[in-house]
Symmetry: C2
Subunit: 416 residues, 2 copies
């Protein structure tokens, strides 16, 4: 029934193999005394349940699935909270768990007073309120957003023993709906010499980024809805700039102003941060589009294995360049690789779930995932990536994450 011919070292099976318990899964329990107990009427069937709710919340039993953050009580509140990727499944991040990155906290904006202004090098400056934007055509797409500092911890000399969410959780994916920016810019009439836009948020930091007009005219969106409902305060209510595949803070939240200019203006937020210091002492700016990237979430640090047998390895892959073309998995520290199954459909600039069956023999193993995107970009090994940069540079880190599984099934973060 099951073709267990290994497709790579360490017990990796073909991606179309389905697991069967008869082959040693050991998860299900057959008939017997304890089985009889399983058929007993559960207590929940003996009492009426709770009533309806206007806006539902997660199960109390899963109240520990939360964003991780350092508790800063004194303004300015600058920092981040992280999505607990290792506790989630599928590809969508529920709105309550989308990562946050603030430079002066979450502003409380009255949507009736909010305006989006397009000005600068345009034929006709324009101001839009929310009602006006709602008459424009909208588009809906799943898109990931990733902070430019995500996974930067892997640049440290020693591998942090931390969860996948803690290391890689400045990453989320939602179904975003909004108005294509190109339509608004065509209406304003861009000067042919206007090659950049300054995008400014209405938060206490006045967070600002220079955005290439080419991107604005391509697939940029004034996002008004996140997973179907109005965008959340932490994600920019009442509107944010969405630049699919571009680093997080360029997707300016609480967007209130787009000024057309000839050249980038080197705002504080694109010079003091999000700039890569290279090995030769030069600085690389405007590293906007993400490369190919992936991370195994099951198993990962904190999620231990329970004895030898069949498991599903699964995780997330993505690329700022478009679709993920393939994800390869190694269970022997990179000596051999097998191709994982990808979710159907694979969407561009969205998180893609990959899965591969694995028969773990109980011996120590090192798991790695390596994504390649449709543009041909492949995720680099850590040493290869590190060699480009000055010590301490950690932005835009897309190195291969390696997880070591020991004989007890405990998982740790390792550099290979």
């Amino acid at each position: 029934m099951l073709d267990e011919t290994p497709v790579a070292g360490g017990g990796l099976l073909h991606r179309r193999t389905l697991l069967r318990a008869g082959l040693g899964l050991g998860g299900a329990m057959g008939a017997g005394a304890a089985f009889g107990q399983s058929l007993a009427t559960p207590p929940s069937m003996r009492v009426p349940g709770a009533g309806f709710s206007a806006y539902g919340q997660p199960a109390q039993w899963r109240g520990d699935i939360v964003r991780e953050y350092a508790d800063v009580q004194t303004p300015p509140i600058a920092g981040a909270s992280r999505t607990p990727l290792h506790r989630l499944e599928g590809t969508i991040t529920p709105n309550g768990l989308h990562f946050e990155r603030h430079h002066n906290g979450v502003p409380n904006i009255d949507p009736a007073q909010h305006r989006l202004v397009i000005h600068g090098m345009v034929r006709q400056p324009l101001s839009f309120d929310l009602d006006a934007l709602h008459r424009y055509p909208m588009v809906t797409h799943n898109r990931f957003i990733e902070c430019g500092g995500n996974s930067g911890g892997l640049s440290r000399p020693e591998p942090a023993q931390a969860t996948a969410g803690s290391i890689h959780g400045l990453l989320s994916c939602a179904e975003w709906t909004g108005v294509p920016l190109a339509i608004l810019l065509e209406e304003a009439g861009l000067d042919p010499e206007a090659h950049w836009l300054i995008a400014e948020g209405a938060d206490g930091a006045g967070m600002s980024r220079s955005v290439p007009v080419a991107k604005a005219m391509d697939d940029a969106v004034i996002a008004l809805y996140q997973n179907g409902e109005p965008i959340r305060p932490e994600q920019g209510f009442p509107m944010r700039l969405l630049l699919p595949g571009f680093e997080g803070n360029a997707n300016v939240k609480w967007l209130h102003r787009l000024k057309a200019v000839a050249a980038p203006v080197h705002t504080r937020d694109e010079t003091s941060k999000y700039t890569d210091l290279m090995a030769d002492g030069r600085a690389r700016q405007f590293v906007l589009q993400y490369g190919a990237k992936s991370v195994i979430l099951k198993p990962s640090f904190g999620l231990s294995m329970r004895g030898p047998g069949l498991y599903e390895i699964s995780g997330l892959a993505w690329s700022g360049a478009g679709r993920v073309a393939k994800v390869e998995i190694s269970a022997d520290g990179g000596q051999s690789w097998a191709e994982a199954a990808l979710g159907d459909p694979v969407l561009p600039k969205a998180l893609t779930r990959f899965r591969l069956p694995w028969r773990w023999d109980g011996a120590p193993a090192v798991l790695m995932s390596r994504a390649t995107d449709e543009a041909g970009n492949t995720q680099p090994a850590r040493a290869e990536w590190m060699a480009q940069f000055a010590p301490g540079q950690f932005y835009h880190c897309n190195v291969i994450q390696c997880w070591a599984v020991d004989a007890n099934g405990e998982v740790s973060n390792v550099y290979v």
Copy 2:
């Protein structure tokens, strides 16, 4: 720039037409005194914002976007809450707003104690706890769930003046992740004579449905995750049966038992309800798979138009048979039709967003949408649908929804 050649009566434009303000949109405001006000520093930029949160919530300004339900305080709590479709965008329903249908309230189930049992006509009865299920391969897909009673209000003699959410909101769509049921059934070893399963929930109603084995072996899933996070209590925590495209209550929530049997057992929940009484006095049972269906949400009752000009008509379409093949829109009460643009990609058994530009001339108009699925099913007119049934039968209603727009831009529910 804009080809405004009408493609059907009443001002419908081609689905690839983009709206431009210069052509009468009137949404944007040009330069002037009020424009200068738009460029003033908003109050939110003068103060620091709020801090991080473990699990985020919607903006306070949108606290009125909630599920609609009759407040029942006395058990048994049986009824439904509805998704406010007319206030949402895109295709995903955020978990807090997924519709609810309970037959005795929402049970509070300790996931560590919960078991899924497969028994009856099987070679090997099996019991699974949550940990065991997590070792199996999983699949992730967007799927709609719709109550068998949804839209039944359109069978009443007079059209209810109510929102789209109130009429059609027993409908939601999420990204569901879980274990394919076929894998578990193969492991249990179904008797070849077992053609049905009894699926029972662990709620106070013991909600039970007979499910064809053919469906269980096709695309049924034991769903554990909803939009990335563990399934919500109202949707079946810790697990529900997901039968893509089948009527809502067959997707049994709080699933704890699947018993393989030879024939359907005619449970209370499939005989007292969800059965169609036909015009000739016979009853049609096990009407499980939904036909083609659609509803225009913008504009719709309660969302009035603000003067003549260009608008985007948008709404949702779906089918239990697979993908939506096309959605046609009429602005003249069904005399002429134009094809709407569909979201990309169109996913099977998931909600599909459709959109079409419309130049409203300010005269009264009747808007209709008509979905056709890839199996060739087309949404029927109300009179055609009603003719099949005995008076009062309202289940599985997929008739064309008609919205009348009057000269003031007010929208009402009409039968055409």
